[in-house]
């Protein structure tokens, strides 16, 4: 094992994802292989229904995998207890939160749950982490607002702040930029980039913003259900991986500008 590999913290090998019910398995994607290191921002892209969200939810152990292995710091995800996992992975999902009556600061504070006592009492350290997370997401002026009073972009930042407050080396985000306009999309993605670099975390998110991902991300996992190329954006461009995402008669990829042409 060379020195580079010792920093690997999230790794998938020969992973198959999908849904398993009592009598049948629905395979959504297979042969997923990647490894991501601390400080890297990774986008998972692919067409609708290819399994981006399923993969993310599988990585977060929200749903079970079908085959293969997922490893965090050499430990198999299957054998990590939910309580221990809570200090390793935090998530931002697409599903709406159950209670929109929470205030911003209450919601962010819930991120500290894995570290608080049985009553959930916040220590000084917890409080400072919460304030830090809110400052990083520029939420200080909103902290006593209720979540139902926020715009989509603000709520998304609150959810990211909650994940930050959870203080985990890995943050998984499911489509953090949907429903946002161009300005807010860029703002969120830049914040994610900032988090991965400054806080030295693994940040993995699913997105449809392929062009932005090419510009911002360190690595990209291109889900196509079969070979699933993974690598740096320019490597994938050289391999002509983006050309194969969409049917070529409707959209073509321009490798020079890293953008799609209609």
């Amino acid at each position: 094992m060379d020195s580079k590999e010792q920093h690997i913290t999230l790794k998938a090998e020969n992973l198959s994802i999908g849904y398993a019910s009592k009598n049948k398995e629905t395979l959504i994607a297979q042969n997923i292989d990647f490894n991501v290191q601390l400080g890297e921002l990774v986008a998972i892209i692919g067409i609708n229904g290819i399994g981006k969200s399923t993969l993310l939810r599988t990585l977060a152990k929200v749903q079970p995998k079908l085959a293969g292995t997922i490893k965090i710091e050499q430990a198999d995800l299957d054998y990590i207890k939910p309580f221990d996992l809570a200090s390793k992975i935090s998530v931002v999902l697409t599903e709406p939160i159950a209670s929109k009556n929470l205030t911003v600061i209450e919601l962010v504070a819930l991120g500290r749950q894995p570290y608080t006592n049985w009553l959930g009492t916040l220590s000084e350290h917890d409080r400072s982490r919460i304030i830090d997370a809110m400052t990083q997401m520029e939420l200080d002026s909103l902290q006593h607002k209720k979540c139902h009073e926020l715009s989509d972009g603000q709520l998304q930042r609150v959810m990211i702040a909650r994940a930050l407050a959870q203080d985990t080396p890995i943050i998984l985000l499911d489509e953090p930029t949907t429903h946002l306009d161009l300005y807010h999309k860029v703002r969120i993605l830049k914040l994610l980039k900032h988090i991965s670099k400054e806080a030295h975390k693994i940040v993995i998110f699913t997105t449809h913003e392929i062009e932005m991902a090419i510009q911002l991300c360190d690595k990209i996992l291109l889900l196509d259900g079969k070979t699933n190329p993974f690598g740096k954006p320019n490597e994938l461009i050289e391999k002509k991986a983006f050309e194969r995402i969409f049917p070529s008669d409707t959209i073509t990829f321009d490798p020079d500008t890293g953008s799609f042409r209609i």
Partner: protein, 330 residues
């Protein structure tokens, strides 16, 4: 708020079909003998148990409502709406009218209370479990409420079948129970109810952290390291004990469980269950004491069924909340 509780407690004890002067009331409360011995008797053996029952019933039902609203992520959840009270009624109906063996037990008053409590609790557990299973399959909150309504119908149907075959005496006993009453409990029954409610409260306090995490939704709660299965069971057991036990002793009492958590959230700008559990219980107790006071006020010789009063007060509160807020959020 505690002051409000004390005041409404005193008002509740002070009022009744026999008027007792206020200073005599205080005399009796603080251990001195009142002017008439009968006043002492009325206060200690009738009014104080009733007031304590009101406190237990009000706080317990409100707490179970709060637990259910969080667990089912549904602002309209409550022991009555979700059919939990119907389940308890069914248990009670089967016990009172369904078996003849019970008549033999009637001589042992305590055993009978215990069996009624167990039957009602079992009934409410049964309904809760079914609702829980449905809730994991159906994500739609409307469907859950409709299922609760259907349980109400099924219970009503079974009860009417039972009442068709039973004798008049038992039927009367059941009908009287179903009106809801907090005035008929002896001290020993009160102790039993207290134990049930205390266990319910204890389990709720143990679940504070999971309840708070559940405000985000189940997947987020899991990602925060909450053992979902375990905490779900604890919350369900707490709810069943509270709603089932109370319904067994006091009959099905409507709207307290649904309305009080909403009223409390209006007053407190927090969703933290550490605060809400305490606030909801005090608020529920106050409301129940006031409802009970109201039930005996209009004509001082008669006492109205408590269920009617809570409905008359509770239903408009829910409507008012819906109209004012346009949507119910929890």
């Amino acid at each position: 708020m505690l002051l409000m509780l004390v005041i409404s407690f005193t008002i509740n004890i002070g009022l009744g079909s026999v008027s007792i002067p206020f200073d005599e009331l205080l005399n009796s409360l603080f251990g001195n003998a009142a002017e008439k011995e009968s006043w002492d008797y009325i206060i200690w053996n009738y009014r104080i148990p009733k007031a304590f029952t009101a406190i237990l019933v009000g706080s317990g039902l409100s707490l179970s409502g709060l637990l259910m609203q969080t667990l089912f992520r549904n602002p309209l959840a409550g022991p009555f709406v979700l059919g939990i009270s119907s389940g308890a009624s069914l248990g009670a109906a089967i016990l009172i009218m369904g078996t003849t063996a019970i008549s033999g037990l009637l001589t042992f008053e305590f055993v009978n209370d215990l069996s009624l409590a167990i039957a009602a609790s079992l009934g409410s557990f049964l309904v809760l479990l079914v609702v829980m299973i449905v809730a994991t399959r159906v994500k739609d909150t409307m469907a859950l409420l409709i299922i609760g309504l259907m349980f109400g119908s099924i219970t009503a149907a079974i009860v009417s079948v039972l009442s068709y075959f039973t004798n008049a005496e038992k039927l009367q006993r059941y009908v009287y129970w179903s009106f809801g009453s907090i005035g008929n409990l002896t001290w020993s029954q009160l102790v039993l109810l207290l134990v049930l409610v205390l266990i319910g409260i204890l389990l709720s306090i143990l679940s504070i952290k999971s309840l708070n995490a559940l405000l985000l939704g189940e997947n987020y709660a899991r990602s925060l390291g909450i053992d979902l299965k375990k905490s779900r069971y604890i919350i369900i057991i707490a709810t069943g004990l509270l709603a089932g036990g109370i319904t067994a002793f006091a009959g099905p009492i409507a709207f307290v469980g649904l309305a009080v958590p909403h009223l409390t959230r209006q007053l407190f700008n927090t969703m933290d269950h550490k605060v809400l559990i305490a606030a909801v219980m005090i608020y529920g107790a106050v409301l129940m004491l006031l409802c009970d006071t109201l039930a005996q006020l209009p004509t001082s010789a008669h006492v109205l069924p408590i269920n009617a009063i809570t409905s008359i007060i509770g239903a408009p509160v829910v409507i008012w909340l819906l109209v004012r807020k346009r949507k119910m959020i929890f």
